[in-house]
């Protein structure tokens, strides 16, 4: 079912799709960042694709293992057609930003904030891109592979002081 989605995607955006695979039955397309929003809108609006539900958005950090360092991973589902698709968008460390998918699915709102908070990937055009799990004033991005697991950052702001 979803095989068709991959075919449709590659046919329409041949120059944007870098690779595809379906290991373990998960249809996956690696796409360029340039026309990401067009691709997402296409996936949502075409009646035979109809990816209406945003399932998950996260980032994989390939620190010193792969270039480019980050990979933004989207999981989409179609409630009407019952098929799934995974999209991966590689981004460089120096330019770790992708356009926000918030206008297409409001359901990626907090997922993008979380990805920004924990990995430091920015989402351009997000209406409220600020930390969500960590506190304001937290330094660094804890899920990056170069953030040490035993590092401690106590909250030192005093009561009444503006953090």
């Amino acid at each position: 079912m979803s095989k068709k989605a991959l075919e449709r995607l590659t046919a329409k955006f041949a120059d944007q799709v870098l690779a595809t695979h379906d290991a373990h039955g998960d249809e996956t397309a690696v796409i360029k960042r340039d026309r990401l929003l067009d691709v997402l809108r296409f996936l949502r609006d075409e009646t035979d694709l109809a990816f209406d539900m945003p399932i998950d958005l996260t980032v994989v950090d390939w620190y010193r293992k792969r270039e480019p360092r980050f990979e933004v991973v989207y999981h989409l589902y179609s409630v009407t057609l019952k098929h799934r698709l995974r999209l991966k968008v590689p981004v460089d460390e120096d330019d770790a930003r992708v356009p926000s998918s918030y206008p297409i699915w409001p359901g990626f709102d907090w997922y993008e904030r979380e990805a920004y908070d924990l990995y430091g990937v920015a989402f351009d055009g997000h209406p409220n891109l600020k930390r969500i799990l960590m506190w304001e004033g937290f330094e660094g991005h804890p899920l990056r592979k170069d953030y040490p697991i035993n590092k401690r950052q106590p909250i030192t702001t005093l009561l009444g002081e503006k953090s």
Partner: protein
Amino acid sequence: MAEILLETEGGDLDSVPMNVQMGPSHPAMHGTIKMRLRLDGEIVARTDVEVGYLHRGFEKSCENVTWTQVMPYTDRLNYVSPLCNNVGYCMAVEKLLGIRATDRCEYIRMIMAETSRIGDHMTCVGASAMELGGFTAFLYAIEVREEIWRVIETVTGARLTHSYCRIGGLKDDLPPDFGASWRSIRKKIRTLIDDIHALLDKNRIFLDRMIDVGVISADRAVSYGFTGPCLRSTGVDYDVRKAAPYMKYDRMEFEVPIGSRGDNYDRYLVRMEEIEQSLRIIDQCLAQIEPGPINVDDGRLVLPEKDDVYGSIEGTIAHFKIIMEGIRVPPGEVYSYTEAGNGELGFYLVSTGEGRPYKCRVRPPCWSFMQALHEMLEGYQVADIVPTFGSVNMIGGECDR
């Protein structure tokens, strides 16, 4: 407060908006969560939901332990139904390994996941009722949960954090008298559920507080990524167990209850009906389950018997390697999803072929509801926050990870 009064001297007091901080520690809040509210009289004009107070670095911790050692962390995601998380995680790793658990193991996992689901729904319904003054219904619901926990304890040895599943199998088989003890508590649960229905279904106060409160439309729910009872209450019949049957759900006869209005009352009814369906599924599992091995026959994944460990050098080595180095999972990525108490619980795992997960992402169903919670609160009264927040069943451990 004094300043506000001064400002409006001679004017209309109600017209001044007031900012209120609700939480993070508040008697009516199930988890530690903060809401910043702008009130226009009794009406909630704007809401800003803040989460993260229970964040403990689930993913970071998982990346630094072996695949097997992740199990106790999954217990603490949705701590009201930990077995659903255990099963979800094991299935994800098994998908990446390219193996499938044995038939008996899958039936036991289903039985345990469904009992947990009953406990989860009962906790949600009971707590919601209590917050609206229905303390009797709460006690009945908690008694159901207590029975469930008692039977789970006989199987897993723990009441709350079970860590019952293993990659490729289970910690233990069911106790021999499980069928009998289930039948006896099933009868009890049935009566208690009927009592809860009798207490709540036509209760004027309960209905007034629940019907047409906290409404969300099907379209909005889908575009926000709702799953589970919250999505089904809007009339969308998406249930992972039906849409993409895993384990033995394709052999089960059960219905997916849906609502129509997407309000608190529909969420309550959907949960109550799902309990009935879970009971049906457990009955069918117990009828179909057959004796057999509970672990896959693969020495690289499953710990050897204790006799072997102490009696043979191969057993000692195998035990040592699994414990110290961890199971080797082939490189790759996988997204595996199951229906947990609150909806689609997904695990996105990335392996580089080492003994530890390179990434262990969990997709918590609560996360999607919480970002849309403001839409379900704005325009209603302050008092409506309590039943609405109760009926989406946010679980801090799962939401904040």
